[in-house]
C-alpha cells in the first residue's frame, strides 16, 4: 500500500492528468462524451455539406433526447415506453407559442420543457396513486400516446391532422430561424452539454443512487427507507422536462409538427429508444455513443438502400434492438467498459 503511494508521488505529473481523465470508468465516460461533443463542434470546419451537418445536428439532438430517457428508464428502470409524448408536448408548446403568441423559441423551448415536466408530474402522480408498475405502467403510457394522438388529430387549435408549420420568416436569431446549419448544430450541442451535465449531476447525487436502488429492487429500496414514489416522480419530471426541451428544438429544426409523426410508436423507437439501447441504457456515455451509431447508420440506409424498397430502415431498427438486447444487453458502453477493465487491470498491477 505504502509502496504504491510512494510510486504514485514519484510518477510524472502527466500521470495525474491521465488519472483525471481516465482514472475510473465514470471519468472515462465523461471524457469520451466531451471528446465526442468537441468533434461534433469542429465538424463545420471540415464538412460543408448541409446534408452531413444535418445528420450531426440530429445525432446531437437524439443524444440529448436519449439522455432524457436514460434518466427515467436507464437509471430508475421505469418502463416509460411512450416517452415521445413529452417530446411532442414540448414541440407543440414551442410552435404554438411562436406562431400564435409570438414568443421567441429561445424562451418557448424551455416553456415546452416545463409543460412536458408538468405532464410528467401528472402521469407520475396518477400512476403512483393507483400503484401502476412495470407492464401496467408501460401499457398506460402507450394508451396515453394513442389517446393524445386522437385528441391532437381533432384539435383544430393546433392544426388537427395537418399539424403546424413554422411560419418561415427571414432568418432571424431571435426567432431561432437560420439559413445555414452551423447555428442549429451549436444550439443542439449546447443542449447536449446541458444534458450531459444534468445526467452526471443526477448520477453522482444521492438522488441518483436512489434511482438506481429502485431500478435494482424497488421493494428492497422501499424497505431500506427510500421514498420510492418521490424518487420515481422526480426521475419522470427530469426526463420529461429534458425531452420537452428536446422536442421544442426538434420542431424548430424540422419546422413542422403533426400528431401522426410524433405520437407514433415507430418514431419513438427511432428517436427515443434505439440510441440508449444501442449505446447502453443506464450508463453515462450510452445515449451519446448510441445516437452517433443510430442516426448516421439510419441515414446511410435511407440514402443508399431505402430508395427502392421501403421497410429497410425499420428492419435495421428492429435488428438494432433485438441484437442489442440479445448480445450486448449493456450496450456499446458495456462492451467498452469490459475492454476498459481488461486494459486497466494490468496497469494497476505493474505500479
Amino acid at each position: 500500500m505504502s509502496a504504491e503511494a510512494t510510486n504514485n508521488i514519484t510518477k510524472r505529473p502527466s500521470r495525474s492528468l491521465w488519472h483525471t481523465l481516465f482514472g475510473d470508468w465514470d471519468r472515462t465516460q465523461i471524457t469520451v462524451s466531451v471528446i465526442l461533443v468537441v468533434l461534433m463542434a469542429i465538424a463545420p470546419f471540415f464538412i460543408d455539406s448541409p446534408y452531413f451537418l444535418g445528420i450531426i445536428i440530429l445525432a446531437a439532438l437524439y443524444a440529448f433526447i436519449g439522455i432524457s430517457w436514460n434518466i427515467v428508464a436507464g437509471f430508475t428502470g421505469q418502463l416509460l415506453i411512450a416517452h415521445i409524448i413529452f417530446l411532442a408536448l414540448g414541440g407543440y408548446t414551442t410552435i404554438v407559442l411562436l406562431n400564435v403568441y409570438r414568443i421567441s423559441p429561445w424562451v418557448g423551448i424551455f416553456i415546452g420543457g416545463i409543460v412536458a415536466a408538468l405532464a410528467g408530474i401528472v402521469i407520475a402522480l396518477i400512476t403512483l396513486r393507483y400503484g401502476l408498475k412495470l407492464d401496467y405502467f408501460a401499457l398506460f403510457t402507450i394508451a396515453l400516446l394513442v389517446a393524445l394522438r386522437t385528441l391532437f388529430l381533432k384539435w383544430d387549435f393546433v392544426g388537427g391532422a395537418v399539424g403546424m408549420y413554422l411560419r418561415l420568416a427571414n432568418p432571424s436569431t431571435a426567432k431561432m430561424i437560420f439559413d445555414t446549419k452551423p447555428p442549429y448544430l451549436y444550439i443542439a450541442l449546447g443542449l447536449l452539454v446541458i444534458g450531459i451535465v444534468i445526467q452526471y449531476l443526477v448520477y453522482n447525487s444521492k438522488m441518483g443512487k436512489y434511482f438506481m436502488a429502485i431500478r435494482e429492487d424497488e421493494a428492497a429500496a422501499s424497505a431500506l427507507g427510500v421514498n420510492t414514489s418521490r424518487y420515481k416522480t422526480l426521475s419522470v419530471i427530469i426526463g420529461a422536462g429534458l425531452a420537452g426541451i428536446g422536442g421544442g428544438f426538434y420542431v424548430m429544426y424540422v419546422t413542422f409538427i403533426d400528431p401522426t409523426g410524433l405520437f407514433n410508436l415507430g418514431v419513438n423507437v427511432e428517436i427515443v429508444m434505439a440510441g440508449p439501447i444501442i449505446g447502453g441504457l443506464g450508463s453515462l456515455a450510452g445515449p451519446i455513443l448510441g445516437a452517433l451509431v443510430n442516426k448516421p447508420i439510419a441515414e446511410l440506409i435511407r440514402g443508399f438502400l431505402a430508395g427502392e424498397r421501403s421497410g429497410i430502415t425499420l428492419i435495421v431498427y428492429g435488428l438494432f434492438l433485438v441484437t442489442s438486447i440479445m448480445f450486448m444487453p449493456r450496450g456499446l458502453a458495456g462492451v467498452f467498459q469490459t475492454l476498459y477493465m481488461k486494459i486497466k487491470r494490468p496497469s494497476r498491477d505493474d505500479v
Binding site: 415506453i81 393507483y130 407492464d135 402507450i142 394513442v146 423507437v269 433485438v322 444487453p329
Partner: protein, 290 residues
C-alpha cells in the same frame, strides 16, 4: 337511436368483438403462462392477413383456405421467436423484455413493408359485399363467417386447455412454474408451444379479417393496443375474461363510432383502459390487488 339501429349496432359490435376476443385470447394466454406482455402481438395478426393476401394473389386460393398455412407458418414463427429470443430474456429486467418485443415488432413491420410495400392492399372475393338479412338485421357474410370462426376457435382452445393432457400442462405451468417442473412437465416446451398457439390464433384472426379489410404493414399496432385494453379489462392471464372483454370492447367501440365518428372511437377504448388501469388494474375477473 331507434331499436333497429340499436340492435344493428350490437350485432356489428359483436362481429368486431369476435376478432378482438380471438386476438386477446392469444395475448392473455401468452401472458398467463410466460408472464410477458407480447408487445409485438398485433404484428402476428398483420402477418396473418398478409398470408391470406399472399395465398390469394399467388395461388388464387380462397382467403379462408389460408388459415392452416397461417397457423403453421406464423405459429411456427412465433414458436421460433419464443425459443430463440424471448426464452433468453424471461429472467431479465422487464425493460429488456419490452425492448426486445418492440424490436421484434419493428422488424416484422419492416419485413412486410419490404416484401409487400407500405401501400394499402386489399383482396376482392366474390362474396365480400354479400349480406344476409335476419330479423331485419343486416349481416355481412365475411364478418359473419369471421365471428362464428372466432367463436369456434375460442371454444376449441378453451376445451383443449381444459381437457387435453397438453392443455392441462399449459395451465399447470401458468399456475406454478416450479411445481409444474417438479411434476415432470417440460416447461421450456410449454412456453414455446404456448407462444406458438397464442400467435397462431392471432394470425388466424388476421386471415379472418382479410376478405373485407384494407391491410397495411403498421395495422398491427392498433390491434396490439386493443388487445392490451381487452386483456387488462378481462384480467391479465384470464382466458374467459379476454373473451368477454373482447366482445365488450367491440360493442363499446361500435357504439362510440356511431356517436362520435369512426376516427375518434378509439378514445372510448382508451378511456376505459385508463380508468380500468387506475381503478381496477386487476380487471373484471381478478381479485383486488393488495
Amino acid at each position: 337511436m331507434s331499436p333497429e339501429i340499436f340492435y344493428q349496432t350490437i350485432i356489428n359490435g359483436l362481429f368486431t368483438g369476435g376478432i378482438y376476443a380471438l386476438v386477446s385470447i392469444g395475448l392473455t394466454l401468452i401472458y398467463g403462462v410466460l408472464i410477458i406482455v407480447n408487445f409485438a402481438h398485433g404484428e402476428f395478426l398483420m402477418l396473418g392477413i398478409y398470408v391470406a393476401f399472399w395465398a390469394f394473389t399467388i395461388f388464387g386460393t380462397d382467403p379462408y383456405l389460408a388459415i392452416p398455412i397461417a397457423v403453421l407458418l406464423i405459429g411456427g414463427m412465433g414458436a421460433l421467436i419464443q425459443r430463440g429470443l424471448i426464452q433468453r430474456v424471461l429472467d431479465a429486467h422487464p425493460l429488456n423484455q419490452i425492448v426486445l418485443l418492440v424490436g421484434v415488432s419493428t422488424l416484422l413491420i419492416g419485413l412486410v413493408q419490404f416484401f409487400f410495400s407500405a401501400e394499402p392492399r386489399s383482396i376482392h372475393v366474390p362474396y365480400e359485399t354479400e349480406v344476409i338479412t335476419l330479423f331485419g338485421l343486416r349481416m355481412s357474410i365475411p364478418r359473419l363467417i369471421a365471428f362464428f370462426a372466432s367463436m369456434l376457435i375460442s371454444l376449441s382452445l378453451f376445451l383443449f386447455l381444459r381437457y387435453t393432457r397438453t392443455g392441462k400442462a399449459i395451465r399447470a405451468v401458468s399456475q406454478s412454474r416450479e411445481a409444474a417442473q417438479l411434476m415432470g412437465i417440460n416447461v421450456k416446451y410449454i412456453y414455446m408451444l404456448t407462444f406458438g398457439i397464442g400467435t397462431a390464433i392471432t394470425a388466424v384472426a388476421g386471415v379472418l379479417l382479410a376478405p373485407n379489410h384494407r391491410m397495411i404493414p403498421t395495422m398491427g399496432q392498433a390491434y396490439s393496443v386493443i388487445a392490451f385494453v381487452v386483456v387488462v379489462l378481462g384480467t391479465m392471464g384470464n382466458f374467459v375474461g379476454a373473451f368477454i372483454g373482447g366482445l365488450i370492447i367491440g360493442i363499446v367501440e361500435t357504439f362510440a363510432g356511431f356517436f362520435l365518428g369512426g376516427d375518434v372511437k378509439i378514445i372510448a377504448s382508451m378511456l376505459i383502459f385508463i380508468l380500468i388501469l387506475l381503478f381496477r388494474p386487476s380487471g373484471l375477473f381478478g381479485r383486488k390487488r393488495s
